[in-house]
């Protein structure tokens, strides 16, 4: 199976306190970047689908990772190559010249030439939390989509059984390949992904695999190509316009109540939750 995974670097959520917001923009100078966690889960899913867990050094399929970003974003791709992906593509762009629609259109064009059987994405990135690209991409491609996948069972190279995480439970969908699937947190639980290669009772360690040292060294020799955004689409216009930025309001100081009855009274009259 050929799988294409889109991967984005995001400002390290653990350093959110360092972010400076001006009315015109969010200042990214000096921020540390990490792969978007949901995208890392998508890479892990792709690796699990294309290997026998008994021998993870041999890839039984092809995993291509794609990112949209400046030259520095290549380290995010190298890290994915170091965990087992086969090749990488960087579409040269900066974040402020992109929105979900433009990324989806450019990806659709790239997919015409790459011809994957499956496109895997994180369900959303943790900066803007827009949650749009997978849905738009499926529409542009005219492919079936299954979003918020918490489990995937591969049925050969023809179909996937996807457990979608929805309010109140799981919706099981069978999608015919090629398809677009976006993944949720639970996809990296030990038994969430069942490939045709791995024994059904195999349990992976929870989460995303470590990059081994030798794979980090070998990743340098794997293919990483650069593509111009304008080579993928003539229309680089944005559909989302940001009109202003402001930090979330600071929390107001709390009040101490003297008694339970005062608390109940306030919950009724001020908070109006009772």
């Amino acid at each position: 199976m050929k799988i294409l995974v889109s991967l984005k670097r995001v400002a390290d959520p653990d350093n959110a306190n360092k972010i400076k917001v001006t009315p015109q923009k969010i200042e990214t100078t000096g921020l540390e970047f990490k792969p978007n966690p949901f995208d890392e889960y998508a890479v892990e899913t792709a690796l699990r689908l294309t290997e026998n867990a008994a021998n993870t050094k041999q890839r039984l399929g092809e995993v291509t990772v794609v990112t949209f970003g400046p030259k520095e974003a290549e380290s995010t791709l190298r890290a994915a190559l170091a965990t087992g992906a086969d090749k990488a593509i960087r579409v040269d762009a900066t974040d402020d010249a992109l929105d979900g629609d433009l990324v989806a259109r450019a990806l659709a064009k790239l997919i015409e030439t790459e011809k994957p059987d499956l496109v895997l994405l994180g369900k959303q990135e943790v900066e803007g939390d827009a949650n749009q690209v997978a849905q738009l991409l499926a529409e542009y491609l005219g492919w079936p989509q299954a979003t918020f996948a918490g489990s995937i069972k591969s049925e050969g190279d023809t179909a996937l059984l996807v457990g979608r995480e929805i309010d109140g439970g799981t919706m099981n969908l069978r999608v015919t390949l090629p398809a677009v699937v976006s993944v949720d947190l639970r996809i990296v639980a030990p038994r969430s992904v069942q490939s045709v290669h791995t024994k059904a009772d195999h349990a992976y360690p929870e989460g995303v695999r470590f990059a081994a040292l030798m794979a980090i060294m070998a990743a340098k020799k794997k293919s990483l190509t650069e593509v111009k955004l304008t080579d993928l689409t003539g229309d680089v216009g944005l559909k989302i316009k940001y009109t202003g930025f402001e930090p979330p309001p600071a929390r107001k100081a709390g009040v101490k109540v003297k008694s339970v009855s005062e608390l109940v009274e306030k919950l009724k009259t001020e908070a109006k939750v009772l």
Binding site: K20, S75, A212, L213, I216
Partner: protein, 616 residues
């Protein structure tokens, strides 16, 4: 009911400081892509450090406190390591972090030693006890790689570097600790050319464990008829399970674990009493074959630099995490009002980082941790530059600095590590004394570092007895000369000039104290040498660390001119300036005090009678 010990990671490392040392201060980056480091580039170094940090936080770190509480068990003569160590061992060797600095011909990645040592800082800092097992296997395998026969290398090296088999170093005996030459373990030649080993070794770290299918002991023993003292000791390869040439495991080799020590710290590391040949069925062969009989000590000495650097790095790994944890706590914990409102009982409570004495402790820890880490990387960068030396003189210079700095890194690094951990506890207050926080374990774990691998006094004697006079004193002269050049270049620096001039004064005092030592040797005043050796080592270390911090601060001051406002590097570089200024003004004066003490030649500890120490 006592509180449960939680399996959560507490380990913290400062990767920005690692990058500063590698790429800004010691410029190891300029060696990447060249010569023996051809396969490496800066991005691989950074990805490796980041991935290794992730591994330590997710795998080794969470096991640190539970393993300390659980300890090791001796069951049916075999050591059972704490819960989770087996899985972590497998994960460690799959990830490959123990192989980063090993030469490619032994299955490693051949990184600069400066990168390897920072990886080791993380492995040791996250879980000292766990890293002991792989550390000893690594060291023993290095001995075989350096001195073993080709067959021995084929049989053991890849397996021991790769985690299939463990390894130990068996030197100490009940009556032979620092006095290793009085070892009594014997080796008797058998008809088939092997030797029968018989004796007892104590304090053997990782002397047995359940992490690997075999443990290869390197045992110092005396062949029947060999000379007394260290000159008659041979290093033997003694596997726990006998092995055939292709690595197939055979019969038990009569190595028994007589007991496990109960210790102050590193409780997850099995410290064993080992009996060899209780049933006269323990077989060993000399490392390197029969031509290497009685060469055990020279073999050990050649490996000692690496092992001693590694122990210094154990210290810095734990101390650094102690500092960073104390810092986090100080930012969070609210207690007391600001000194500006000290009379107002209703004034808002402030984070303890706002209190002057907490800030003093934090900066004290920061400067020591960063300064000693810089000294470590200075040392390893000399090793890394050895293979690039243009001529013999340059190579001799680098090797000379390595030899000179090893006792400083081992002794000062580990002495200060304990003090940093103690200061970290003090920063927390009562909370730091409980097992709710990691610093009390850090303090217990790191005390052993100043004792094993040659006590810190042995390091001091190595420095004054061997290293100062090495190459006719040229290594010390080069060290003093490098400081003098630095002082001359920066003594009028706008911000740091006064501190640089103070370093200059201390450097002159150090030269004077070295001459004093020489005079004691020449005039037969031998008793004064060990009496002042420890203080001389500390003095020289303080001067070296002050130099490293000032060097870093001058780089940082230049970078501050161009760093963008709002960039976190601004705070990083400012921190470098304050580390240097604090250390130069609050620690370095102690160096000149020690010079004065040496001039004073107080011999009270020698003159006092044994009885006068106490009449109880």
């Amino acid at each position: 009911m006592s509180k449960p010990i939680q399996a959560i990671n507490r380990y913290k490392a400062d990767l920005r400081d690692f990058q500063f040392l590698l790429f800004e201060q010691f410029k190891v980056g300029e060696l990447l892509g060249k010569g023996v480091f051809e396969a490496w580039d800066a991005e691989q170094v950074n990805v490796s450090l980041a991935e290794c940090y992730r591994w330590t936080r997710e795998v080794a770190g969470p096991l640190n406190a539970p393993a300390d509480a659980e300890g090791c068990k001796l069951v049916d003569g075999r050591v059972i390591t704490p819960k989770g160590f087996k899985e972590a061992w497998k994960s460690l060797y799959e990830a490959g972090w123990k192989s980063i600095g090993i030469a490619p011909e032994h299955g490693g990645a051949g990184s600069p030693v400066s990168v390897q040592i920072l990886v080791e800082e993380m492995l040791s800092g996250a879980n000292t006890a766990f890293n002991m097992y792989s550390g000893l296997a690594f060291g023993a395998s290095e001995v075989i790689a350096s001195f073993g026969t080709t067959d021995q290398q084929h049989l053991y090296c890849a397996r021991m570097f790769g985690g299939e088999w463990g390894g130990t170093m068996c030197l100490t005996e009940p009556h032979a600790g620092s006095d290793v030459g009085s070892a009594k373990t014997t080796a008797r030649l058998n008809a088939d050319g092997t030797y029968s080993i018989k004796g007892t070794k104590i304090y053997i770290s990782g002397g047995d464990h359940d992490l690997a299918s075999n443990v290869i002991h390197l045992v110092l023993a005396r062949v029947d008829g060999a000379p007394a003292g260290t000159k008659g000791l041979t290093l033997f390869i003694v596997p726990r399970v006998r092995t055939s040439g292709d690595g197939t495991l055979g019969a038990d080799n009569d190595v028994t674990v007589a007991a496990l020590e109960h210790k102050m710290g590193i409780n997850g590391s099995a410290t064993c009493v080992l009996n060899f040949g209780d049933n006269d069925a323990c077989i060993g062969v000399p490392v390197g074959g029969d031509s290497e009989l009685n060469k055990g000590m020279p073999q050990m000495f050649k490996m000692m630099n690496g092992a001693r650097i590694a122990v210094g790095v154990q210290g810095i790994g734990v101390a650094s995490s102690a500092y960073l944890n104390a810092l986090e706590y100080a930012r969070d914990r609210k207690q007391g009002a600001s000194i500006t409102h000290w009379k107002d009982a209703t004034a808002p409570r402030v984070s303890i980082i706002e209190h002057a004495d907490v800030r003093r402790m934090l900066l004290d820890m920061k400067s020591r941790v960063e300064g000693i880490r810089a000294l470590v990387v200075k040392l390893t960068s000399h090793i890394d530059r050895l293979t690039f030396a243009k001529d013999d003189a340059e190579a001799a210079y680098h090797q000379g600095q390595v030899d000179l700095l090893v006792p400083l890194v081992k002794a000062y690094g580990t002495d200060q590590a304990f003090r940093v951990c103690e200061t970290a506890i003090q920063t927390y207050g009562g909370a730091g004394y409980t097992r709710d926080y990691p610093v009390e374990q850090y303090c217990r774990d790191c005390k052993i570092f100043s004792i094993y691998e040659g006590t810190n006094h042995i390091q001091a004697m190595d420095l004054v007895g061997r290293k100062l006079g090495q190459a006719g004193g040229a290594n010390l002269q080069a060290f003093l000369g490098d400081i003098a050049k630095f002082v001359a270049a920066h003594k009028d620096h706008a911000k740091l000039g006064a501190s640089v001039r103070a370093l200059g004064g201390a450097q002159e005092a150090l030269g004077g104290s070295a001459l004093k030592l020489l005079m004691w040797f020449q005039t037969g005043n031998m008793a004064a040498v060990p009496l002042y050796a420890t203080r001389f080592l500390e003095m020289m270390s303080e001067i070296a660390v002050a130099w490293m911090l000032l060097d870093a601060a001058i780089i940082a001051d230049t970078k501050l001119q161009t760093v963008e406002p709002g960039h976190p590097d601004k705070a990083f570089y400012e921190g470098k300036l304050f580390s240097a200024m604090y250390y130069a003004r609050s620690v370095l004066p102690a160096a000149e005090l020690k010079a004065r003490q040496m001039n004073d030649e107080d011999k009270s500890p020698l003159e006092i009678s044994d009885a006068a120490f106490a009449t109880v």
